[in-house]
Amino acid sequence: MKAVDGLSFTACRGDVFGFLGPNGAGKSTTIRMVLGLIHPTAGRVTIGGCDVTTDRLRALRQVGAFVEAPSFYPYLTGRRNLEIFAWLSGGASDAEIDWALEMTGLRGREHEAVQVYSHGMKQRLGIAACLLPRPELLVLDEPTDGLDPHGIRETRELILRLARVEGLTIFLSSHMLGEVENLCNRVAILDRGRLVLEGPLAGLEERLRGTEILTSRPAEAAAFVRDKFGLEALPGDKLRVVLNGVDAAALNAALVQAGFAVQSLAPEEAWLERLFLERTRSLEGSSPAMKPQINTEERR
């Protein structure tokens, strides 16, 4: 069995790249290959033009990363952990450590042993460690995993600040679709070790985001938009279509003219989730409620 196969993608400077996939899809394996922790049997990973297999040190000089969960020496203080890990990247000045602590909101707690830190603090310390010395690229593997809603929000804000204010390129692995939708400008979806979708989020949204039409006779309306505009209804219990360049106002007018009482016509809310479910294996074996389906009775 291959953990990852035929995987190819590119993240460019300034990107916040969302790397999505269900559990066991191969996200962490891919990240480990990206960081040189495991060796691929074929293919190459380059960071800033440096091949990770043949020129690992130069490649990793540009990177701050944690995989799965940030790990520290619990008997050392947060600050000491940051210092000693920075030594492995050539060292960081006190001012740089202060900056990293400031960025992650850990100022005032840095002299406490890591063993007394909460999970959220450890996650933030993990991001602080990635920032020392200032990298060009941050690779974060599920940075909000196990955090409470406050922690998730703080971490998201931090990632946005690092991308927008500090100008870092961020490669973010997650299975939280909302997080990716809010943070990323580019996404890749991985399933069973294979890439099933990749591209700029805006482009994917334009091409694949549906429009939800709330009308009294959805099944008939679905048939109408198919015949009139060539738009296929998306699976699911509501009428949703991808407009494919069709003007929403024209569609609305046509539906009204044909006698359908259109209550609303709005962009699909959880379009990324739908895409994710459609394209990944979680479709298989999931409960009927989770499966995208169209209510055929209503359509009739």
Binding site: M1, K2, V4, D5, L7, S8, F9, T10, A11, R13, T29, R32, M33, V34, L35, G36, L37, I38, H39, P40, T41, A42, G43, R44, V45, T46, I47, G48, G49, R56, L57, L60, R61, Q62, F66, V67, E68, A69, P70, S71, F72, Y73, Y75, L76, R80, I84, F85, W87, L88, S89, G90, G91, A129, P135, E136, L137, V139, L168, T169, F171
Partner: protein
């Protein structure tokens, strides 16, 4: 692992390689030293050694050594009382056997187990390896710190033994039964009091060289497995199995090839039968084993997939 990770093509283009530096050996040594110093378990062996030495001193105070006197007398060494042969040197020499043959290898194995496999288990190894540090340099740094630790521990043990021994029992000639010191001779031996400090120094140096080899072996095993417990159980199993092989006379032909034979060569310094050529041969063997174990550890660690 062949075939498990196949065909990947990933390009991350933050910018051209910038001014971040790779870790020097000095940085790695500082890193390993801070970790070792901060860990409470690092200091436990020192405490244990001190407790054991104090126990030995107490036992030596209370024992009459009548059985030892009887054996010595069978080799024409007749003592009327224990004070005639039991002194600080006698105590130190006899305590070196359990301390350097059993206790120190256990401490070294545990420390090395925590250094690589333990770090892999707790995820800190991958946190180190996602930084621009050469794997070989990281392992070499670990070995140097571990070897330094073994040196400090053995120096502490020998100095504590000699100081407590001499303070409690005084000095004098060093009498020993050859069978206890694996020197291939029968009978008993006597080392004049004036020679004894030099003998102890040589014995300590050789014993420490042996511990360095064990450190390299332990690090090799530690870099192959995923848990600290497994690392030190395997290391100790290998060490004690090889030690046990030396108990079978029909395997005597094998002894020169066992690394434990050379590790225990220090015992010869305690007796009057010092064969310098054997000591040189053992030193060469120990150097060879050390280089072989360390090279294997670095090569395997370079290739290791860090999946924990």
């Amino acid at each position: 692992m062949n075939g498990l990770f196949d065909s990947i093509c990933v390009h991350l283009r933050p910018s051209a390689a910038n001014g971040h530096r790779s870790a020097s050996l000095g940085s790695v040594l500082r890193f390993e030293w801070v970790k070792l110093r901060g860990r409470r378990i690092t200091w436990v062996p020192f405490l244990m050694t001190a407790i054991i030495v104090l126990l030995i001193v107490t036992v030596f105070h209370h024992l009459q050594f009548s059985y030892a006197r009887k054996i010595f007398s069978s080799f024409q060494l007749v003592f009327q009382s224990k004070e005639q042969f039991v002194n600080g040197y006698y105590m130190s020499a006899h305590a070196m056997n359990p301390i350097f043959q059993i206790l120190m290898p256990i401490f070294i194995s545990v420390a090395s187990g925590l250094m690589v496999a333990g770090e892999a288990e707790h995820g800190t190894l991958r946190a180190c390896l996602v930084r621009p540090v050469s794997r070989g340099r990281l392992l070499l740094g670990k070995f140097i710190i571990l070897a330094g630790y073994a040196l400090a521990l053995s120096l502490f043990a020998i100095l504590l033994l000699l100081s407590t021994g001499v303070l409690n029992f005084g000095t004098g000639n060093l009498y020993s039964l050859n069978i206890l010191f694996n020197n291939g001779q029968e009978g008993a031996s006597t080392v004049p009091a004036a020679d004894v400090p030099l003998r102890f120094m040589l014995a300590w140096l050789l014993a420490t060289a042996g511990l360095m080899v064990l450190s390299a072996l332990a690090l090799l095993i530690s870099s192959l497995v995923e848990s600290a417990a497994m690392a030190y159980v395997i290391t100790l199993s290998v060490y004690f199995s090889f030690l046990a092989l030396r108990s079978f006379p029909f395997l005597e032909w094998l002894y020169p090839y066992l690394f434990v034979t050379h590790m225990l060569r220090w015992q010869q310094c305690i007796s009057s039968y010092v064969k310098t050529d054997e000591i040189y041969v053992s030193l060469v063997h120990l150097a060879g084993y050390l280089i072989a174990f360390l090279t294997a550890a670095v090569l395997l660690f370079e290739q290791r997939d860090v999946k924990s």
